[in-house]
């Protein structure tokens, strides 16, 4: 293929005859597009990603009698085709077959009958592009008392209009019939928007600068020129706009001053729509009853007192579900994995392969599957909140609070979920449409006190702090635990403020939030969405988590101790290493290090722990804690079991007394090794550091880049190190040991 101004600009012809024709589904947000999509494609859906941007591409297959199998692509909901970012540009690219995407043979636009004028704005843009078009007039039942006339609408637009009900699935056969008929037949629009002559002259001038690959008919060229005039400007984040077109747009806009091109363009389209509305309705009215009933619900749900109380209650349910209700399922998964490993140990001959399988692979699968209960529950609830229309109200209620952090009201549910687990919370940032908001939210979520930190906090606090009372009243240990939550909230606040002004600065885009009418959510749709999320997680993040678990296992398992070596004689090397870093035990009766202790110590992970000991010594950590920190990268709570291995008390949990005793009695130079000051430093470190490969794996998946997980890890580790350093060193200066 010849490459002109950029390979992606060249429209791909349909050279490959084996590729099925493509139908794209477009529409405003909240018009029931996804349910129409599901009705058309059945249960099979493929979720991929548009190249280069973090926009999901959902596609499925549909049989059309005259055309065989066609691919149906569900485009992200949009109010308009004009774009400021590469994410918004996807809509145009997918419709025209730019940027290497398959050129569609048909476009089905789903229209909310209750929001006709705003929906028609998008339809006009599609018509101007002369795409083969079918209108699916959806949600007509909500305006049954005074519906727009489909025949009149079809007459006005000059394209077929099919009445559909995505939820009940009615009208689908008719839609398929019309799709079959219209596939591949271009539309020459009948609607003539009367743009001001000056604007048409501007469009002509811009059209001359369109790249040859974009040009087709005069009408479509004009539509593309108008798109460019509305979208291209200095500082936009569009992709593949040829410099010539960019210059021309700037030139024309400057020349047009002081005319208001945007107002002329948008105003002319709405004037055209408003002019037609009267012909579409038997009578025009101000308030459709559906909206009126939604208003009545809002009067309660957005009430300053009742509304806020209900909001808090609902959010408590969301949090409780993630935090507690998922627990039994998580336990079942953990037990099953444990049982499976136990069985395999019996069946397989001892050796590297068995250990790899049992500790690496099965452990890794466990590390992935264990997230499923929370992910499923969170997406079930998000689906219900989103479908019912309440999610927009959450954003409405919380926007004032999150605005101060430079975040969007929609960040609330993901942030709240972060207190249970960062992994589903990061996946939940999909509810935000803007890339910058999503990124900022993703970068601060891992600072929340997730449930994996709790066992670590419990161990440290219960072991290293006395069970005394502050002022003889407040228990110190409980106070510390509450303090850790407060600490997380404060650091999240500060970090969000700082990152929002530095790393993810981005343009300030004002909040424009639609509050859709309340609707009864469809459980089937929600369940389907939930399963789709879970599968994408398993496929894209799961593999990375599995690989990391195996790598971490190898780090702590190799090199292996010779099998024939007698159990209780540490190797000379290990002894030397032991002598170097820790003084001999004070108790003359102290046992020799067990095999598991020596194994860990000799492993690459153990050596790494010792190698980095000087780095972490100013924080008050010794190599044993360092090994625990390395192990905790698999998941924070693994810190405890790794320490258990280091101290030879076997696999353990936070309630295990032997480990607590060992930690309390660990000494160095005759003094207690782990003082409360070390404990505090360790708490701070665990609160701030990014000790979670799963978090990094989902951030990589969600941002489709390595840059952001690397940045996340770097900033959190730096923050953790710095603050732990300050805590320990200041503590020492103040005379604590």
């Amino acid at each position: 293929m010849t490459v002109g101004e950029g390979a992606s600009l060249v429209e791909r012809g349909r050279e490959d005859k084996h590729e099925p024709p493509v139908v794209v589904l477009v529409g405003n947000p909240n018009v029931g597009k996804t349910s129409v999509y599901n009705q058309l494609t059945g249960e099979r859906a493929h979720i991929g990603n548009y190249p280069g941007v973090t926009v999901e591409q959902r596609s499925g297959r549909l049989e059309l009698p005259g055309h065989g199998t066609v691919t149906v692509i569900d485009l992200p909901g949009a109010y308009s085709l004009s774009a400021r970012s590469a994410e918004e540009q996807i809509a145009l690219d997918a419709l025209l077959g730019h940027a290497g995407l398959e050129r569609p043979s048909l476009c089905v636009v789903v229209v909310d009958a209750g929001q006709l004028s705003r929906n028609l704005y998008l339809v006009l843009q599609l018509l101007e592009l002369e795409l083969p078009l079918v209108v699916a007039l959806n949600m007509l039942d909500e305006v049954a008392h005074n519906p727009p006339s489909p025949t009149a609408l079809s007459r006005f637009l000059g394209v077929p209009v099919v009445v559909t009900d995505g939820r009940r699935g009615t009208g689908m056969n008719e839609l398929k019939r019309v799709m079959n008929e219209r596939l591949g037949k271009p539309t020459s629009t009948r609607v003539a928007v009367s743009y001001p002559p000056a604007l048409l002259a501007d469009a002509e001038c811009v059209a001359d600068a369109l790249p040859a690959a974009w040009r087709t008919t005069p009408g479509r060229d004009r539509a593309l020129a108008l798109w460019a005039l509305a979208s291209v400007e200095p500082g936009d984040e569009l992709r593949d706009i040829p410099p010539g077109l960019r210059e021309r747009c700037d030139e024309v806009r400057q020349r047009a001053e002081p005319r208001d091109i945007d107002r002329e363009l948008i105003g002319a389209r709405y004037a055209c729509i408003d002019g037609a509305l009267e012909s579409l309705y038997a009578r025009l009215e101000r308030h459709p009853p559906k909206r009126a009933s939604s208003e009545r619900v809002d009067r309660v749900l957005l009430h300053p007192i009742a509304g806020v109380a209900i909001f808090m209650l609902l959010m408590l349910v969301v949090f409780q579900a993630l935090f507690s209700w998922s627990d039994p399922a998580i336990r079942v998964i953990e037990r099953s994995i444990g049982w499976l490993s136990g069985e395999l140990v019996h069946f397989l001959p001892a050796g590297v392969l068995r250990d790899l399988l049992v500790e690496g692979v099965i452990g890794g699968v466990g590390n992935v599957v264990v997230f499923l209960p929370q992910i499923l529950l969170l997406f079930l609830m998000i689906g219900l909140l989103e479908d019912s229309g309440y999610m927009a109200r959450v954003a409405f209620l919380m926007d004032r609070v999150l605005k101060t952090l430079g975040l969007h009201g929609r960040a609330f549910v993901p942030m709240l979920s972060g207190f249970a687990c960062a992994v589903p919370a990061i996946l939940a940032t999909r509810t935000m449409e803007r890339q910058r908001d999503r990124l900022l939210t993703m970068l601060v979520i891992p600072l929340m006190t997730c449930s994996a930190r709790l066992p670590v906090y419990t161990l440290i606090i219960a072991t290293l702090f006395p069970p005394s009372h502050v002022f003889g009243l407040v228990p110190l240990q409980g106070l510390l635990m509450v303090g850790m939550y407060a600490f997380a909230v404060v650091t999240t606040l500060v970090v969000a403020l700082v990152l929002g002004r530095t790393a993810v600065r981005g343009r300030r885009v004002p909040l424009v939030l639609e509050l859709p009418p309340y609707r009864m959510p469809s459980l089937r749709l929600t369940l389907r969405g939930m399963l789709e999320r879970a599968l994408v997680f398993l496929k894209e993040a799961g593999t990375v988590i599995l690989a990391c678990t195996v790598a971490l296992w190898a780090l702590l398992a190799f090199p292996r101790l010779p099998e024939h070596e007698p159990e209780r004689t540490p190797s000379a090397e290990a002894r030397a290493a032991e002598a170097r870093v820790t003084t001999p035990p004070v108790h003359p009766t102290a046992p020799e290090p067990s095999r598991s202790e020596r194994r860990i110590e000799q492993s690459y992970g153990g050596r790494l722990g010792k190698a980095i000991e000087p780095v972490f010594a100013p924080l008050g950590f010794d190599w044993k804690i360092d090994v625990g920190i390395i192990g905790a990268f698999a998941a924070r709570e693994v810190f405890i079991s790794t320490l258990g291995l280091v101290y030879g008390v076997g696999d353990t949990d936070d309630q295990a007394l032997p480990l607590r005793e060992k930690l309390r009695h660990e000494t160095q130079g005759g003094k207690v090794r782990y003082t409360p000051l070390v404990g505090l430093s360790l708490l701070v470190f665990f609160a701030l550091s990014c000790q979670c490969m799963s978090t990094l794996a989902v951030v990589r998946k969600e941002t489709q880049s390595l840059k952001w997980p690397a940045f996340l890890f770097a900033y959190m580790t730096t923050l953790a190190y710095t603050l732990s350093f300050l805590v320990y060193q200041c503590g020492k200066l103040l005379g604590f040991s």
Binding site: Y79, S80, S82, R84, G114, Q115, S117, R118, Y121, A230, E233, D262, R263, I266, G267, Y270, I273, D274, L277, R283, L284, E285, R286, H287, P288, R291, A292, S294, E295, D298, L302, H303, P304, G307, V308, A392, A395, F396, L397, D399, R400, V401, K403, G409, R507, R508, V509, P510, L511, V512, L513, E514, L515, P516, P517
Partner: protein, 112 residues
């Protein structure tokens, strides 16, 4: 009597007005206008969030929420009780009584 020209942020609850000019950064005004807030469109301040921000507007039968600071960039003319004006500017013309008092709409065809 308050001035007829004011900003969207200064409307009182349940008050209606016609948009005169959408100001502010280009992406914001383009977004608002594309959502139907073109000059001449009637808007109503429907609610204010419990913490005082953002605002909920009723435009073309849809509820939109924008922040107070952004609403201050939108100039409006308080709706005059002139049915002719409503007929030429607002698509959301009404033939039925609206559910709430201040919204009581004027029958359009009868007036023409």
């Amino acid at each position: 009597m308050p001035p007829r020209v004011q900003h969207l942020s200064e409307l009182e609850l349940a008050q209606t007005a016609d948009i005169e000019h959408v100001g502010g950064e280009r992406s914001f005004r383009r977004r608002l206008m594309e959502l139907g807030l073109v000059p001449g469109t009637r808007v109503e301040l429907k609610a204010v969030a419990p913490l005082g921000d953002p605002l909920e507007l009723l435009v073309r039968g849809a509820s939109l929420s924008i922040r107070r600071a952004d609403a201050a960039l939108v100039r409006v003319v308080r709706a005059a009780p002139s049915p002719a004006k409503a007929a030429t500017t607002s698509p959301a013309k009404a033939a039925e009584p609206a559910p709430r008092g201040p919204l009581k709409a004027t029958p359009v065809r009868g007036a023409q």
